[in-house]
Symmetry: D3
Subunit: 274 residues, 6 copies
């Protein structure tokens, strides 16, 4: 169960309205790697957690923090939309600054949400739960989380570069710092699990049932061998089980496919002239 | 540019048709972490690559291999659909085995694709490009890739457990082995980049601009302190810059939000009785 | 069955082209609360209607009218797109007015639909049938309809404020008037059904099977008690069955969840070190 | 900002696993009118609220409660999935009960989420933010909320009828009771706002600018006049401004549309033989 | 503007309920090539038509007919859902026939639409306007229409094979016949336009601006030359402008791509060790 | 299986960056009729092909070529994004040209993909597999392909008209030429199949089971008879089986629908006052 308090986790006050920036900032609210995504991802991983209680508790701690980040961004966006120009375009265009602003706004910020934040990304695409993952395997999921925090911090940093509003930058500096922590956090949790288990997910599948002759081979499917120069092409494999091997000219090992004609009730292409 | 050869990368021949399993196998073809996702993700990362040529080459090598995996799965699914029962349900239901099969099939396998594979997941949801990421930052993206291969191998292993068809298991044993390699590969590439850069993405953002007092703090937003027991709550941070700190009772640092009324042309809630 | 006549239900003639406004006007054609939504919602409610014939007839009357509204908006948008500038941007940008227009247009209006209206919203997001509802319970659905007409009229009014084109405003004044009627209509239909049934949907569920001690309690889940001041916090409940009660400090009534580990074939997080 | 406590708001313990029912129960978790929808809708309405503080507070109270409902449903679904049969279908089908269960399960519950709840509906369709609305006009939005609680309670009641598991029914009886309160709550809030403003949304648009001759007319667009029998066809209009009027044979008031040919660079249909 | 009459265009009465078939039949109502798709496609093509009036008129004739087909299918599906078993699964599964039925039903037919048709496909995926096309070029669009009627008739025929309900087959025999006409109709309209214009869309683009040395070459991008045997590989081209040519070993004509590093504010992969 | 070579199929080098045009060009990369669509459509048709080997081979030839077109467009877009202005809008707007550029850019090109191409359309909508079709009936599918190449060439031509960048136009002139070939190719393949089979898809359905009295009738569902003037309204039908007939006043042939009330556990509208 949850409780709400009225104060925001950190300040979210722009120096001045900026409806074009409001549109851009939607990306880290309702985009693929926005705060709604991590909020939902961590909460569902926590609720579904069948592992040790400390993982469930940790997931719900961070998931609960992310709801507060969604709240901060929504509050910021609503204020960036104050006084957005929505008068008629013809007149507006006579002032190139207003014209540029109106061309760059998300029209739904005026028409649909009445100067409120939307659970959408910077292109107006709605948030979808397919952005999240909770697989029941915590090592797999912590890698998803490390990715989400990496993409997320990258996007917030890019947005930081796109404004010089001190109030906006202040809030973003907080989110960037929390993402620093959260990348550290998932790296720590991953290290802990990799030490308990083997690093290949799922660790519980007996490797004797996989086609082991291709388990450590890099296959060079494009002309040229620049790809031979990486750590992945030679030396000990990262799971410590074998040596990496570089296959310069990988060969097909399978059949030439042949599908039998469909039965008549399927009305596929008739096998011969009627 | 690309060339095709007729042989599959590895055999894809089921021992017998199984239309219910065909539906399930769609997950690793057209699902969130299916082969279409990694194919598109690696190709776009390669095409957009502004880093060293060896990364571009490596990405296009593996992206090109993944097209072949899509091909193997599509071929397998088409064969699993051979002879699927599509006659009328009333009669079918009299034979409980046929009834169960028909209840468990994806009807679009008969009605729409005429016993062919579909670019959809196991629930019939279409593949969407929002499953992929290519951010222009390779460390961020390689973490996305490690996650994709972790989720992907986990799903293939689960599907391996759900059948005893030897032909299907043979093909899956190949895909599982390749995913072993691909997890190793992305771990290797990540290690290489983390050694060149700092591990926090993006490494190029000057941390003095982030709110550093919260950059290494775990915040306990739920009652109870089980979350204190993890590696993330104490000791050296993973980036080596600081010590983790555990905040038992995190406090709000921000304002109580107040939004000004919308201007009249927005027709929001009127501020007072009309 | 349906018949078409060539005249529009009302005039749809702009004074002049305005491709930026055409983009905005798409919201009330193909958006969440646009005319396609109400058209499809009323038609499906009518076709699925298992209640009295007068409701079916009324639903199909209004659904049929909405097809005519879709037609008016499509016709208007096509005319607003006449002469849209689509030449190359570099030159266009030299004239700030043209530049602003081109920046604010939906590029698909030129590239995809060739200056025709699209079944999309103002952000180019396609109309989806998930915007509609037909539940088989008319009281529930009439509330959906009243909401749709409220959101719809609000959006049309906002669009009315964003233009001074007399032809566009003339058409919008007609749609606004019809939405006045349609809000009245659904309020009337709701009143009629609430008088026949009880106002809580579904009226047919025996309330003795619900957890009645929380059926009339407002729970204050956030710090502070401003929410105590509303009609919902005290006095007779709207269904006349009880008094509203205000719970200042709601307490959890449930268990601390514990999930058992997944069986081995699921390959979840291993319960202990391997 | 938010805090979490470990206890659920109410018990969520099934008597026994039932993976087919788990699939159905997803509807009220991640469907169009599921708990995620109301959680997100109320939180965004609260965060965007530019009206009196008591409305903001009330919206965040109920939005915070809904997070707890999402938590209860996720917990319940995970337990209903315990011991779900995922072995191979061929053998399973020999036992018709297991066969029916496997045919009726959502395969993603095993393959993707490893026996965890998903943020999807009962057909596996992902939750999307387009299910929510926050318009900036509270009367409009409270009507959306009353609809959501009406559809929601209807769906939970239908699910109650589909099981005889006492633990499941106990939890549903709690949700049904809360929906009773929430329908009452929105009716109360609507009444309060309708008394302050006029009942037609938006109340602030001056009706002299709408085409008033059609503001109170029911138009009979289908053959037959059953629709004349309703409250909406005669008597005082619900807003008290006029009398309802019934138009038996509505006539078109608009032009026959004619669109000019597209300019050459659009490459539309050539106006005449080339 | 549109009028409705109460009679269906053709009978839609099943002999008996069949909820599993109801789910399947949704494909041709709300699927990619279902009746909603052609209805919306023809209406939008008509409303956007900038060509001769006879095309607009014809498009609106057929679009209006398709609304009647949507109506017939919705009516049929509602009746197929009469008496659908929705009691608890555990008991139901004891009767294998009921169990199979329940496993094969769409749960939303009971929970969400209360035994009504839905604007979705046979996998519960919602209809989306991205299924439709109206390009402003009638020859292009009539090819889209011929495809839609070809896919549509194929799907209806497959559904005809999946039932022996005489009432259902009677209705389908009508839809199949209309699709026969509609395929004929679009072939006729295409022939007419191809005779007025050249057959390559758009006919108005001056071919001297295309890279003419590859305008009539079939390129063999896969090993083996079976593809040489078709009409497309030799002989006069279909537009009569040239001879088809078969390129056995197509060669790349472009550069090896090289992208410059991103500027610092983008925070892409750093070009060298920091 | 597939191989990659480093050279592009044709040059993809713009003369200068143009981020607004980059947004527009996304349409033919990731839009409904973009290169991803034809790539996936042809590959799946090939992999699912149960007809003669020459069709499978031809489909995989062209599908493989289309991967190269996706590669060319992605490469071009990345270069058009070089040096895109992403600094703060307020300053930018002072220079109307920069302001227009920033208003017209896709913000995700900077924030999400770091100046890389995206698998989305020109409105930022993600590519979805629902754009493709592979029905198992090659005549039906070749019609889908002819449509795709017609819409595709039309869109590329429109984009050609919107730029005067010589490098961009050079690449587009190649794509336009290939689309000329591909329209010719599908016309040739269609002619070949129509001569083997009958032209109505599916040719294998015995027409005696369709309602033949309406198989060749054009029905005039809208007032006025302009639609009588087309080739579709009189003369020999295109399949040579009959004469077209024009029905001036089509009449309903079906029942007035009546649905029985839902059973009590569905909680539909109660049939009478409670």
């Amino acid at each position: 169960m949850f409780y709400h308090i009225k104060e925001l986790q950190y300040n979210a006050k722009p120096d001045r309205p900026d409806p074009v920036y409001a549109k851009k900032l939607q990306e880290v609210l309702g985009g693929q790697f926005g705060e709604i995504s991590v909020m939902m991802q961590y909460l569902f991983q926590g609720w579904n957690c069948r592992g040790e209680q400390k993982y469930r508790d940790m997931l719900l701690d961070i998931g609960t923090e992310e709801i507060a980040h969604v709240e901060m961004l929504a509050t910021m966006i609503a204020q960036l939309l104050d006084n957005a120009p929505v008068e008629d375009q013809e007149n507006a265009a006579k002032d190139p600054i207003i014209g540029a602003v109106m061309g760059g706004m998300n029209p739904q910020h005026a028409i649909v949400s009445g100067l409120g934040a939307r659970p959408d990304d910077s292109e107006g695409y709605p948030w979808t739960s397919r952005y999240t993952i909770a697989s029941g395997n915590l090592l797999a999921d912590f890698r998803a989380n490390l990715n989400a925090e990496s993409q997320g911090r990258l996007q917030v940093v890019r947005l930081y570069e796109m404004t010089d509003d001190k109030g906006v930058r202040d809030m973003l500096s907080f989110l960037i710092a929390r993402d620093t922590m959260h990348q550290n956090q998932w790296m720590a949790a991953i290290e802990e699990l990799e030490q308990k288990q083997k690093p290949i997910v799922p660790a519980t599948f007996n490797q004797q049932y996989e086609k082991q002759e291709v388990s450590y081979s890099f296959m060079n499917f494009s002309e040229g061998e620049e790809s031979r120069q990486g750590r992945w092409a030679s030396g000990k494999s990262m799971d410590g089980q074998a040596e990496f091997e570089y296959i310069s000219e990988p060969r097909a090992m399978g059949q030439i496919p042949f599908l039998q004609p469909a039965p008549p009730h399927i009305h596929g292409t008739p096998p011969s002239p009627l």
